[in-house]
Protein backbone atom coordinates (compact mmCIF):
# COMPACT_ATOMS: atom_id res chain seq x y z
CA UNK A 1 0.00 0.00 0.00
CA UNK A 2 2.86 2.36 0.77
CA UNK A 3 4.25 1.67 -2.67
CA UNK A 4 0.93 2.57 -4.21
CA UNK A 5 0.81 5.86 -2.32
CA UNK A 6 4.36 6.70 -3.31
CA UNK A 7 3.97 5.71 -6.93
CA UNK A 8 4.45 8.68 -9.20
CA UNK A 9 5.52 11.13 -6.52
CA UNK A 10 8.65 12.90 -7.77
CA UNK A 11 11.74 12.21 -5.75
CA UNK A 12 12.49 15.79 -4.83
CA UNK A 13 8.98 16.17 -3.40
CA UNK A 14 9.48 13.11 -1.21
CA UNK A 15 12.80 14.44 -0.01
CA UNK A 16 11.29 17.79 0.91
CA UNK A 17 8.47 16.08 2.79
CA UNK A 18 10.83 13.84 4.77
CA UNK A 19 13.00 16.83 5.59
CA UNK A 20 10.01 18.84 6.80
CA UNK A 21 8.81 15.92 8.89
CA UNK A 22 12.24 15.50 10.46
CA UNK A 23 12.34 19.15 11.40
CA UNK A 24 8.88 18.98 12.90
CA UNK A 25 9.67 15.84 14.90
CA UNK A 26 12.84 17.38 16.28
CA UNK A 27 11.24 20.77 16.94
CA UNK A 28 10.55 20.33 20.68
CA UNK A 29 14.27 19.83 21.23
CA UNK A 30 15.14 23.37 20.31
CA UNK A 31 11.83 25.24 20.46
CA UNK A 32 10.82 26.97 23.65
CA UNK A 33 7.45 26.50 25.32
CA UNK A 34 5.92 29.48 23.55
CA UNK A 35 7.06 28.42 20.09
CA UNK A 36 5.72 24.97 20.84
CA UNK A 37 2.26 26.33 21.56
CA UNK A 38 2.39 28.29 18.31
CA UNK A 39 3.37 25.13 16.42
CA UNK A 40 0.52 23.27 18.07
CA UNK A 41 -1.88 25.94 16.88
CA UNK A 42 -0.43 25.80 13.37
CA UNK A 43 -0.76 22.03 13.20
CA UNK A 44 -4.28 22.20 14.60
CA UNK A 45 -5.34 24.51 11.78
CA UNK A 46 -3.43 22.43 9.25
CA UNK A 47 -5.41 19.39 10.42
CA UNK A 48 -8.85 20.99 10.42
CA UNK A 49 -8.03 22.68 7.13
CA UNK A 50 -7.26 19.31 5.56
CA UNK A 51 -10.48 17.83 6.84
CA UNK A 52 -12.55 20.75 5.54
CA UNK A 53 -10.68 20.71 2.25
CA UNK A 54 -12.07 17.29 1.44
CA UNK A 55 -15.58 18.67 1.26
CA UNK A 56 -14.73 21.91 -0.50
CA UNK A 57 -11.50 21.43 -2.36
CA UNK A 58 -12.27 17.96 -3.54
CA UNK A 59 -16.04 17.86 -3.80
CA UNK A 60 -16.73 21.55 -4.25
CA UNK A 61 -19.25 22.06 -1.44
CA UNK A 62 -18.53 25.20 0.61
CA UNK A 63 -19.23 24.45 4.25
CA UNK A 64 -19.14 27.45 6.54
CA UNK A 65 -20.30 25.54 9.58
CA UNK A 66 -17.45 23.13 10.22
CA UNK A 67 -17.17 24.38 13.79
CA UNK A 68 -20.21 22.17 14.32
CA UNK A 69 -18.12 19.01 13.98
CA UNK A 70 -15.27 20.38 16.07
CA UNK A 71 -17.76 21.32 18.76
CA UNK A 72 -19.51 17.97 18.69
CA UNK A 73 -16.21 16.10 18.88
CA UNK A 74 -15.13 18.29 21.77
CA UNK A 75 -18.35 18.16 23.76
CA UNK A 76 -19.02 14.44 23.37
CA UNK A 77 -15.60 13.33 24.59
CA UNK A 78 -15.36 16.05 27.23
CA UNK A 79 -18.78 15.19 28.66
CA UNK A 80 -17.96 11.45 28.65
CA UNK A 81 -14.74 12.22 30.49
CA UNK A 82 -16.26 14.59 33.03
CA UNK A 83 -19.33 12.49 33.79
CA UNK A 84 -18.07 8.94 33.33
CA UNK A 85 -14.30 9.17 33.38
CA UNK A 86 -14.13 7.77 29.85
CA UNK A 87 -10.81 8.65 28.22
CA UNK A 88 -10.62 10.66 24.98
CA UNK A 89 -9.41 7.81 22.78
CA UNK A 90 -12.22 5.59 23.98
CA UNK A 91 -14.74 8.36 23.58
CA UNK A 92 -13.50 9.33 20.14
CA UNK A 93 -15.47 6.74 18.18
CA UNK A 94 -18.65 8.10 19.76
CA UNK A 95 -17.59 11.65 18.93
CA UNK A 96 -16.87 10.67 15.34
CA UNK A 97 -20.14 8.77 15.06
CA UNK A 98 -22.23 11.71 16.24
CA UNK A 99 -20.30 14.10 14.03
CA UNK A 100 -20.82 11.87 11.03
CA UNK A 101 -24.50 11.51 11.83
CA UNK A 102 -24.86 15.30 11.76
CA UNK A 103 -22.82 15.64 8.62
CA UNK A 104 -24.81 12.93 6.93
CA UNK A 105 -28.08 14.59 7.93
CA UNK A 106 -26.99 17.94 6.59
CA UNK A 107 -25.71 16.27 3.46
CA UNK A 108 -28.87 14.27 2.94
CA UNK A 109 -31.11 17.30 3.40
CA UNK A 110 -28.98 19.45 1.15
CA UNK A 111 -28.14 17.01 -1.62
CA UNK A 112 -31.52 15.30 -1.80
CA UNK A 113 -33.34 18.59 -2.01
CA UNK A 114 -30.91 20.32 -4.33
CA UNK A 115 -29.61 22.87 -1.86
CA UNK A 116 -26.35 23.95 -3.44
CA UNK A 117 -23.88 26.80 -3.65
CA UNK A 118 -24.63 29.74 -1.42
CA UNK A 119 -27.73 28.08 -0.02
CA UNK A 120 -25.70 25.08 1.07
CA UNK A 121 -23.25 27.36 2.84
CA UNK A 122 -26.06 29.15 4.63
CA UNK A 123 -27.57 25.81 5.62
CA UNK A 124 -24.27 24.78 7.20
CA UNK A 125 -24.06 28.09 9.05
CA UNK A 126 -27.60 27.64 10.30
CA UNK A 127 -26.87 24.17 11.69
CA UNK A 128 -23.77 25.38 13.51
CA UNK A 129 -25.73 28.28 14.98
CA UNK A 130 -28.48 25.87 15.95
CA UNK A 131 -25.91 23.81 17.85
CA UNK A 132 -24.46 26.92 19.45
CA UNK A 133 -27.80 28.01 20.85
CA UNK A 134 -28.84 24.45 21.61
CA UNK A 135 -25.73 23.67 23.61
CA UNK A 136 -26.13 26.96 25.47
CA UNK A 137 -29.26 25.42 26.97
CA UNK A 138 -27.93 21.88 27.30
CA UNK A 139 -27.68 21.37 31.05
CA UNK A 140 -25.80 18.09 30.88
CA UNK A 141 -22.79 19.94 29.50
CA UNK A 142 -23.27 22.98 31.74
CA UNK A 143 -24.72 25.05 28.90
CA UNK A 144 -23.46 28.57 28.60
CA UNK A 145 -21.50 28.49 31.86
CA UNK A 146 -19.00 26.27 30.16
CA UNK A 147 -17.74 22.74 30.53
CA UNK A 148 -14.46 22.42 32.38
CA UNK A 149 -12.15 19.44 32.37
CA UNK A 150 -10.36 18.65 35.58
CA UNK A 151 -6.81 19.83 35.17
CA UNK A 152 -4.70 17.47 37.25
CA UNK A 153 -1.00 16.85 37.55
CA UNK A 154 0.82 18.59 34.73
CA UNK A 155 4.11 16.88 35.34
CA UNK A 156 3.17 13.45 34.18
CA UNK A 157 2.27 12.83 30.53
CA UNK A 158 -0.82 10.71 30.46
CA UNK A 159 -1.48 9.99 26.83
CA UNK A 160 -4.43 7.77 27.55
CA UNK A 161 -6.33 10.63 29.09
CA UNK A 162 -4.49 13.34 27.19
CA UNK A 163 -3.37 15.11 30.32
CA UNK A 164 0.10 16.55 30.36
CA UNK A 165 2.75 18.82 28.98
CA UNK A 166 2.52 20.75 25.72
CA UNK A 167 5.14 18.42 24.24
CA UNK A 168 2.76 15.50 24.42
CA UNK A 169 0.01 17.51 22.77
CA UNK A 170 2.47 18.58 20.11
CA UNK A 171 3.29 15.04 19.08
CA UNK A 172 -0.37 14.04 19.18
CA UNK A 173 -1.43 16.83 16.81
CA UNK A 174 1.62 16.24 14.64
CA UNK A 175 0.70 12.58 14.30
CA UNK A 176 -2.92 13.53 13.52
CA UNK A 177 -1.83 16.01 10.86
CA UNK A 178 0.48 13.50 9.21
CA UNK A 179 -2.27 10.87 9.15
CA UNK A 180 -4.70 13.41 7.69
CA UNK A 181 -2.16 14.33 5.04
CA UNK A 182 -1.61 10.73 4.03
CA UNK A 183 -5.35 10.06 3.94
CA UNK A 184 -5.98 13.11 1.75
CA UNK A 185 -3.17 12.12 -0.57
CA UNK A 186 -4.62 8.64 -0.90
CA UNK A 187 -8.12 9.99 -1.47
CA UNK A 188 -7.02 12.43 -4.16
CA UNK A 189 -5.66 9.74 -6.39
CA UNK A 190 -8.37 7.19 -5.74
CA UNK A 191 -11.51 6.62 -7.76
CA UNK A 192 -13.49 8.58 -5.17
CA UNK A 193 -11.07 11.48 -5.47
CA UNK A 194 -11.45 11.60 -9.24
CA UNK A 195 -15.23 11.50 -9.01
CA UNK A 196 -15.18 14.30 -6.44
CA UNK A 197 -13.12 16.46 -8.74
CA UNK A 198 -15.52 15.79 -11.56
CA UNK A 199 -18.44 16.82 -9.34
CA UNK A 200 -16.58 19.92 -8.28
CA UNK A 201 -15.83 20.92 -11.85
CA UNK A 202 -19.22 20.25 -13.40
CA UNK A 203 -21.78 18.19 -11.57
CA UNK A 204 -24.12 17.89 -14.54
CA UNK A 205 -21.39 16.59 -16.84
CA UNK A 206 -20.26 14.24 -14.07
CA UNK A 207 -23.73 12.70 -13.94
CA UNK A 208 -23.70 12.11 -17.66
CA UNK A 209 -20.55 10.05 -17.15
CA UNK A 210 -22.37 7.68 -14.86
CA UNK A 211 -21.21 9.16 -11.57
CA UNK A 212 -23.80 8.80 -8.81
CA UNK A 213 -23.27 12.35 -7.60
CA UNK A 214 -25.54 12.14 -4.56
CA UNK A 215 -23.67 9.16 -3.21
CA UNK A 216 -20.24 10.68 -3.69
CA UNK A 217 -21.24 14.02 -2.19
CA UNK A 218 -22.48 12.11 0.84
CA UNK A 219 -19.11 10.33 1.08
CA UNK A 220 -17.41 13.70 1.02
CA UNK A 221 -19.43 15.20 3.83
CA UNK A 222 -19.26 12.02 5.89
CA UNK A 223 -15.50 11.75 5.59
CA UNK A 224 -15.01 15.47 6.13
CA UNK A 225 -17.17 15.64 9.24
CA UNK A 226 -15.78 12.39 10.62
CA UNK A 227 -12.25 13.62 10.14
CA UNK A 228 -12.97 16.98 11.78
CA UNK A 229 -14.34 15.47 15.01
CA UNK A 230 -10.94 14.34 16.37
CA UNK A 231 -9.79 17.94 16.12
CA UNK A 232 -12.57 18.74 18.56
CA UNK A 233 -11.39 16.01 20.89
CA UNK A 234 -7.92 17.50 20.81
CA UNK A 235 -9.35 20.98 21.35
CA UNK A 236 -11.30 19.90 24.43
CA UNK A 237 -8.42 18.14 26.13
CA UNK A 238 -5.84 20.74 25.24
CA UNK A 239 -7.74 23.84 26.29
CA UNK A 240 -9.73 22.12 29.03
CA UNK A 241 -12.71 24.43 28.77
CA UNK A 242 -15.62 24.59 26.33
CA UNK A 243 -18.19 27.30 25.84
CA UNK A 244 -20.91 26.89 23.21
CA UNK A 245 -20.60 30.58 22.34
CA UNK A 246 -16.97 30.09 21.39
CA UNK A 247 -16.84 26.52 20.20
CA UNK A 248 -19.68 26.64 17.66
CA UNK A 249 -19.37 30.30 16.78
CA UNK A 250 -19.25 31.15 13.10
CA UNK A 251 -15.89 32.87 13.51
CA UNK A 252 -14.48 29.46 14.40
CA UNK A 253 -15.83 28.04 11.16
CA UNK A 254 -14.23 30.87 9.26
CA UNK A 255 -10.88 30.29 10.98
CA UNK A 256 -11.02 26.71 9.76
CA UNK A 257 -11.39 27.74 6.14
CA UNK A 258 -8.79 30.52 6.18
CA UNK A 259 -5.82 28.18 5.97
CA UNK A 260 -7.03 26.22 2.93
CA UNK A 261 -8.42 29.28 1.14
CA UNK A 262 -5.23 31.25 1.54
CA UNK A 263 -3.00 28.26 0.98
CA UNK A 264 -4.96 26.84 -1.91
CA UNK A 265 -8.32 25.09 -1.91
CA UNK A 266 -8.26 21.63 -3.38
CA UNK A 267 -4.53 21.18 -3.10
CA UNK A 268 -2.76 18.85 -0.73
CA UNK A 269 -0.31 21.37 0.65
CA UNK A 270 -2.61 24.37 0.63
CA UNK A 271 -4.10 23.92 4.11
CA UNK A 272 -0.67 23.23 5.60
CA UNK A 273 1.04 26.20 3.98
CA UNK A 274 -1.92 28.41 4.79
CA UNK A 275 -1.90 27.39 8.44
CA UNK A 276 1.83 28.02 8.75
CA UNK A 277 1.66 31.41 7.10
CA UNK A 278 -1.47 32.67 8.79
CA UNK A 279 -0.79 31.54 12.33
CA UNK A 280 2.91 32.21 12.11
CA UNK A 281 2.47 35.73 10.85
CA UNK A 282 -0.37 36.61 13.20
CA UNK A 283 1.54 35.39 16.24
CA UNK A 284 4.46 37.45 15.06
CA UNK A 285 2.17 40.45 14.77
CA UNK A 286 0.80 39.90 18.27
CA UNK A 287 4.29 39.70 19.68
CA UNK A 288 5.31 42.87 17.93
CA UNK A 289 2.36 44.70 19.38
CA UNK A 290 2.91 43.33 22.86
CA UNK A 291 6.54 44.38 22.65
CA UNK A 292 5.36 47.93 22.04
CA UNK A 293 2.84 47.68 24.83
CA UNK A 294 -0.13 47.91 22.51
CA UNK A 295 -3.16 45.98 23.63
CA UNK A 296 -5.28 45.40 20.59
CA UNK A 297 -8.14 42.91 20.86
CA UNK A 298 -9.18 41.58 17.50
CA UNK A 299 -5.99 42.58 15.72
CA UNK A 300 -5.23 38.97 14.87
CA UNK A 301 -8.54 38.48 13.16
CA UNK A 302 -8.24 41.86 11.49
CA UNK A 303 -4.96 40.62 10.07
CA UNK A 304 -6.66 37.43 8.89
CA UNK A 305 -9.27 39.55 7.17
CA UNK A 306 -6.69 41.52 5.24
CA UNK A 307 -4.76 38.38 4.29
CA UNK A 308 -7.93 36.80 3.00
CA UNK A 309 -8.81 39.93 1.06
CA UNK A 310 -5.40 40.09 -0.55
CA UNK A 311 -5.34 36.45 -1.46
CA UNK A 312 -8.85 36.39 -2.92
CA UNK A 313 -8.21 39.53 -4.93
CA UNK A 314 -4.74 38.71 -6.21
CA UNK A 315 -4.19 34.97 -5.94
CA UNK A 316 -7.62 33.40 -6.09
CA UNK A 317 -6.20 29.89 -6.26
CA UNK A 318 -4.18 30.45 -3.15
CA UNK A 319 -0.54 30.84 -2.37
CA UNK A 320 0.47 27.23 -2.99
CA UNK A 321 0.05 26.93 -6.81
CA UNK A 322 2.61 29.58 -7.80
CA UNK A 323 4.84 28.27 -5.00
CA UNK A 324 4.51 24.75 -6.30
CA UNK A 325 5.45 25.81 -9.81
CA UNK A 326 8.68 27.26 -8.53
CA UNK A 327 9.48 24.18 -6.50
CA UNK A 328 8.44 21.96 -9.42
CA UNK A 329 5.98 20.24 -7.12
CA UNK A 330 2.89 20.85 -9.19
CA UNK A 331 2.87 17.47 -10.85
CA UNK A 332 2.51 15.55 -7.61
CA UNK A 333 -0.30 13.45 -8.87
CA UNK A 334 1.25 12.00 -11.98
CA UNK A 335 0.30 8.43 -12.30
CA UNK A 336 1.69 7.83 -15.73
CA UNK A 337 5.25 7.49 -16.88
CA UNK A 338 6.67 10.68 -18.39
Amino acid sequence: MIARLLHGVPRHALLLLVLMLAVLIAAPLFAGDYLLTVLILILYFAYTGQAWNILMGFAGQLSLGHALYVGLGAYVTAALYVHFGIGPWVGMPAAIAISVACGASIGFLAFRFGVAGVYFSILTIAFAEFARIGFDHFAWVQGSSGLFLPVANYKANDIVNLRGQPVMFYYVILAMTVVAFVICHGLLRSRVGYFWQAIREDEFAARSLGIATFRYKMYAIIISSGMTAPAGVFYAFYYNNLFPEQTFFIVRSIEIILGPVIGGVGTLFGPVIGAFLLTGLSEGLQNLLTAYGVDAPGVTRLFYGFCLLLVVAILPNGIWPPFAKVLRLDRLHDKSET
Binding site: E201, A205, K335, S336
Partner: protein, 241 residues
Protein backbone atom coordinates in the same frame (compact mmCIF):
# COMPACT_ATOMS: atom_id res chain seq x y z
CA UNK B 1 -30.59 -6.53 -36.66
CA UNK B 2 -32.27 -5.77 -33.35
CA UNK B 3 -33.28 -2.27 -32.44
CA UNK B 4 -30.95 -0.86 -29.83
CA UNK B 5 -33.05 2.19 -29.07
CA UNK B 6 -36.80 2.53 -29.41
CA UNK B 7 -38.51 5.87 -28.94
CA UNK B 8 -42.29 5.47 -28.88
CA UNK B 9 -44.74 8.39 -29.00
CA UNK B 10 -42.57 10.59 -26.83
CA UNK B 11 -43.76 14.09 -25.97
CA UNK B 12 -42.31 16.78 -23.77
CA UNK B 13 -43.87 20.08 -22.75
CA UNK B 14 -42.24 23.00 -20.98
CA UNK B 15 -44.93 25.21 -19.42
CA UNK B 16 -47.13 25.12 -22.44
CA UNK B 17 -44.40 24.93 -25.06
CA UNK B 18 -44.48 21.63 -26.86
CA UNK B 19 -40.78 20.90 -27.35
CA UNK B 20 -41.18 17.33 -28.54
CA UNK B 21 -44.48 16.22 -30.04
CA UNK B 22 -45.32 12.54 -30.31
CA UNK B 23 -42.03 11.40 -31.81
CA UNK B 24 -41.37 7.77 -32.63
CA UNK B 25 -38.37 6.10 -34.22
CA UNK B 26 -36.00 3.20 -33.77
CA UNK B 27 -32.26 2.98 -34.02
CA UNK B 28 -30.96 -0.37 -35.19
CA UNK B 29 -27.84 -1.69 -33.56
CA UNK B 30 -24.70 -0.75 -35.41
CA UNK B 31 -26.31 2.12 -37.30
CA UNK B 32 -25.32 5.74 -37.56
CA UNK B 33 -28.58 7.57 -37.16
CA UNK B 34 -28.83 11.32 -37.67
CA UNK B 35 -31.44 13.71 -36.33
CA UNK B 36 -31.69 16.94 -38.26
CA UNK B 37 -34.04 19.90 -38.32
CA UNK B 38 -34.08 23.68 -38.06
CA UNK B 39 -33.09 25.39 -34.84
CA UNK B 40 -35.61 25.00 -32.08
CA UNK B 41 -36.96 21.80 -33.56
CA UNK B 42 -36.52 19.89 -30.33
CA UNK B 43 -33.43 17.87 -31.20
CA UNK B 44 -31.43 18.56 -28.04
CA UNK B 45 -34.55 18.10 -25.94
CA UNK B 46 -34.94 14.69 -27.54
CA UNK B 47 -31.36 13.87 -26.59
CA UNK B 48 -31.96 15.08 -23.07
CA UNK B 49 -34.99 12.85 -22.85
CA UNK B 50 -33.01 9.83 -23.97
CA UNK B 51 -30.10 10.69 -21.66
CA UNK B 52 -32.40 10.98 -18.66
CA UNK B 53 -32.07 14.71 -18.04
CA UNK B 54 -35.86 15.03 -18.22
CA UNK B 55 -38.62 12.50 -18.20
CA UNK B 56 -41.10 12.59 -21.10
CA UNK B 57 -44.65 13.73 -20.39
CA UNK B 58 -45.91 10.80 -22.39
CA UNK B 59 -44.53 7.91 -24.36
CA UNK B 60 -41.62 5.59 -23.64
CA UNK B 61 -38.00 5.03 -24.46
CA UNK B 62 -36.50 1.58 -24.58
CA UNK B 63 -32.84 0.71 -24.68
CA UNK B 64 -31.81 -2.88 -25.26
CA UNK B 65 -35.32 -3.87 -24.41
CA UNK B 66 -35.54 -2.08 -21.05
CA UNK B 67 -37.52 1.05 -20.29
CA UNK B 68 -35.16 3.94 -19.53
CA UNK B 69 -37.40 6.97 -19.65
CA UNK B 70 -37.68 7.45 -15.90
CA UNK B 71 -34.03 6.86 -15.11
CA UNK B 72 -31.55 9.45 -13.80
CA UNK B 73 -28.73 10.55 -16.14
CA UNK B 74 -26.06 8.59 -14.30
CA UNK B 75 -28.13 5.43 -14.42
CA UNK B 76 -28.67 5.90 -18.15
CA UNK B 77 -24.94 6.17 -18.66
CA UNK B 78 -24.35 3.04 -16.64
CA UNK B 79 -26.78 1.19 -18.92
CA UNK B 80 -24.54 2.01 -21.85
CA UNK B 81 -25.48 5.38 -23.33
CA UNK B 82 -22.78 8.03 -23.58
CA UNK B 83 -23.34 11.61 -24.64
CA UNK B 84 -21.64 14.84 -25.58
CA UNK B 85 -23.05 18.35 -25.17
CA UNK B 86 -23.98 20.97 -27.72
CA UNK B 87 -21.96 23.54 -25.75
CA UNK B 88 -18.96 21.50 -24.72
CA UNK B 89 -18.45 20.96 -21.02
CA UNK B 90 -15.08 19.40 -20.40
CA UNK B 91 -13.70 19.52 -16.87
CA UNK B 92 -11.72 22.67 -17.51
CA UNK B 93 -9.65 22.63 -14.33
CA UNK B 94 -8.45 19.08 -14.94
CA UNK B 95 -5.98 17.69 -17.44
CA UNK B 96 -7.01 15.99 -20.66
CA UNK B 97 -6.03 12.59 -19.34
CA UNK B 98 -7.85 13.15 -16.04
CA UNK B 99 -10.97 14.08 -17.97
CA UNK B 100 -10.98 10.81 -19.85
CA UNK B 101 -9.80 8.76 -16.86
CA UNK B 102 -12.89 9.88 -15.00
CA UNK B 103 -15.00 8.47 -17.78
CA UNK B 104 -13.03 5.23 -17.75
CA UNK B 105 -13.40 4.85 -13.99
CA UNK B 106 -17.03 4.02 -14.45
CA UNK B 107 -16.27 0.45 -15.42
CA UNK B 108 -12.61 0.24 -14.41
CA UNK B 109 -12.29 0.92 -10.67
CA UNK B 110 -8.50 0.91 -10.58
CA UNK B 111 -7.28 4.45 -11.34
CA UNK B 112 -4.05 3.29 -12.96
CA UNK B 113 -5.82 0.86 -15.27
CA UNK B 114 -8.43 3.52 -16.01
CA UNK B 115 -5.72 5.93 -17.03
CA UNK B 116 -4.18 3.32 -19.31
CA UNK B 117 -7.53 2.95 -21.03
CA UNK B 118 -7.81 6.70 -21.20
CA UNK B 119 -4.48 6.87 -22.95
CA UNK B 120 -5.59 4.31 -25.52
CA UNK B 121 -8.69 6.30 -26.31
CA UNK B 122 -6.78 9.56 -26.45
CA UNK B 123 -4.35 8.01 -28.92
CA UNK B 124 -7.19 6.95 -31.16
CA UNK B 125 -8.60 10.44 -31.13
CA UNK B 126 -5.25 12.10 -31.67
CA UNK B 127 -5.09 13.79 -28.29
CA UNK B 128 -2.39 11.67 -26.64
CA UNK B 129 0.29 14.34 -27.10
CA UNK B 130 -1.82 16.86 -25.19
CA UNK B 131 -2.79 14.52 -22.37
CA UNK B 132 -1.06 16.56 -19.67
CA UNK B 133 -2.52 19.86 -20.78
CA UNK B 134 -5.32 21.45 -18.83
CA UNK B 135 -8.59 21.11 -20.66
CA UNK B 136 -9.03 24.86 -20.37
CA UNK B 137 -6.06 25.39 -22.70
CA UNK B 138 -7.55 23.37 -25.56
CA UNK B 139 -9.02 24.84 -28.73
CA UNK B 140 -12.66 24.20 -29.54
CA UNK B 141 -12.05 21.31 -31.98
CA UNK B 142 -9.81 19.65 -29.40
CA UNK B 143 -12.38 20.19 -26.69
CA UNK B 144 -14.97 18.48 -28.84
CA UNK B 145 -12.68 15.53 -29.39
CA UNK B 146 -11.97 15.45 -25.67
CA UNK B 147 -15.65 15.24 -24.92
CA UNK B 148 -16.06 12.38 -27.39
CA UNK B 149 -13.07 10.63 -25.80
CA UNK B 150 -14.52 11.12 -22.35
CA UNK B 151 -17.91 9.76 -23.33
CA UNK B 152 -16.22 6.85 -25.11
CA UNK B 153 -14.30 5.95 -21.99
CA UNK B 154 -17.55 5.02 -20.28
CA UNK B 155 -17.82 2.10 -22.69
CA UNK B 156 -21.14 2.98 -24.29
CA UNK B 157 -23.11 0.85 -26.73
CA UNK B 158 -24.90 3.96 -27.95
CA UNK B 159 -23.17 7.31 -28.33
CA UNK B 160 -25.23 10.50 -28.52
CA UNK B 161 -23.32 13.23 -30.33
CA UNK B 162 -24.91 16.67 -30.08
CA UNK B 163 -23.72 18.92 -32.91
CA UNK B 164 -20.18 17.72 -32.47
CA UNK B 165 -19.19 19.36 -35.76
CA UNK B 166 -20.52 22.83 -35.05
CA UNK B 167 -17.90 25.51 -35.27
CA UNK B 168 -15.33 23.30 -36.95
CA UNK B 169 -13.47 23.99 -40.17
CA UNK B 170 -13.97 21.60 -43.12
CA UNK B 171 -10.73 19.69 -42.53
CA UNK B 172 -11.61 19.22 -38.88
CA UNK B 173 -15.07 18.08 -39.84
CA UNK B 174 -13.61 15.46 -42.14
CA UNK B 175 -11.38 14.26 -39.33
CA UNK B 176 -14.19 13.86 -36.89
CA UNK B 177 -16.35 12.18 -39.48
CA UNK B 178 -13.57 9.61 -39.88
CA UNK B 179 -13.36 9.14 -36.14
CA UNK B 180 -17.10 8.55 -35.87
CA UNK B 181 -17.06 6.19 -38.83
CA UNK B 182 -14.23 4.18 -37.28
CA UNK B 183 -15.94 4.06 -33.89
CA UNK B 184 -18.95 2.60 -35.58
CA UNK B 185 -17.19 0.13 -37.83
CA UNK B 186 -14.31 -0.98 -35.58
CA UNK B 187 -15.87 -0.84 -32.15
CA UNK B 188 -19.45 -1.49 -33.16
CA UNK B 189 -20.75 1.55 -31.35
CA UNK B 190 -24.16 2.71 -32.47
CA UNK B 191 -24.22 6.45 -33.04
CA UNK B 192 -27.14 8.83 -32.76
CA UNK B 193 -26.13 12.28 -33.85
CA UNK B 194 -27.69 15.70 -34.07
CA UNK B 195 -26.12 17.59 -36.91
CA UNK B 196 -26.51 20.68 -39.02
CA UNK B 197 -23.50 20.00 -41.19
CA UNK B 198 -25.25 18.22 -44.06
CA UNK B 199 -22.18 16.90 -45.80
CA UNK B 200 -21.26 15.02 -42.65
CA UNK B 201 -24.78 13.66 -42.35
CA UNK B 202 -24.86 12.57 -45.95
CA UNK B 203 -21.51 10.83 -45.77
CA UNK B 204 -21.97 8.72 -42.67
CA UNK B 205 -25.60 8.45 -41.67
CA UNK B 206 -27.46 5.33 -42.70
CA UNK B 207 -30.77 6.78 -41.56
CA UNK B 208 -32.05 10.29 -40.95
CA UNK B 209 -34.92 11.64 -38.87
CA UNK B 210 -36.14 15.18 -39.46
CA UNK B 211 -37.76 17.16 -36.66
CA UNK B 212 -39.69 20.38 -37.04
CA UNK B 213 -41.48 22.18 -34.22
CA UNK B 214 -40.97 19.11 -32.09
CA UNK B 215 -42.61 16.68 -34.50
CA UNK B 216 -41.07 14.08 -36.81
CA UNK B 217 -41.78 15.10 -40.39
CA UNK B 218 -39.66 12.62 -42.27
CA UNK B 219 -37.55 9.55 -41.72
CA UNK B 220 -35.53 7.38 -44.03
CA UNK B 221 -32.33 7.12 -46.03
CA UNK B 222 -30.44 10.39 -46.32
CA UNK B 223 -30.95 10.88 -50.05
CA UNK B 224 -34.72 10.43 -49.84
CA UNK B 225 -35.20 12.58 -46.77
CA UNK B 226 -33.24 15.47 -48.20
CA UNK B 227 -35.54 15.65 -51.21
CA UNK B 228 -38.76 15.35 -49.17
CA UNK B 229 -40.87 18.48 -49.83
CA UNK B 230 -41.89 18.82 -46.19
CA UNK B 231 -38.24 18.86 -45.19
CA UNK B 232 -37.29 21.44 -47.78
CA UNK B 233 -40.21 23.58 -46.68
CA UNK B 234 -39.21 23.44 -43.03
CA UNK B 235 -35.65 24.57 -43.75
CA UNK B 236 -36.13 27.03 -46.54
CA UNK B 237 -39.77 28.09 -46.41
CA UNK B 238 -42.55 27.89 -48.96
CA UNK B 239 -40.72 29.84 -51.64
CA UNK B 240 -38.04 27.18 -51.96
CA UNK B 241 -40.54 24.79 -53.44
Amino acid sequence: MADLLQVTNVSKNFSGLRAVADVSFSVPEGAIFAVIGPNGAGKTTLFNLIAGVFAPNSGGIQFRGDRIDRLAPDEVCRRGIGRTFQLVRPFLGLTVEDNVTIGALLHEPNPNAAMQRAHEILSQLGLFAKRRHLAATLTLPDRKRLEVARALATGPKLLLLDEVMAGLRPTEIDRIVEVVRKLNSDRGITVLLIEHVMRAVMSIASRVLVLHHGAAIAEGAPETVVRDPAVVRSYLGEEAL
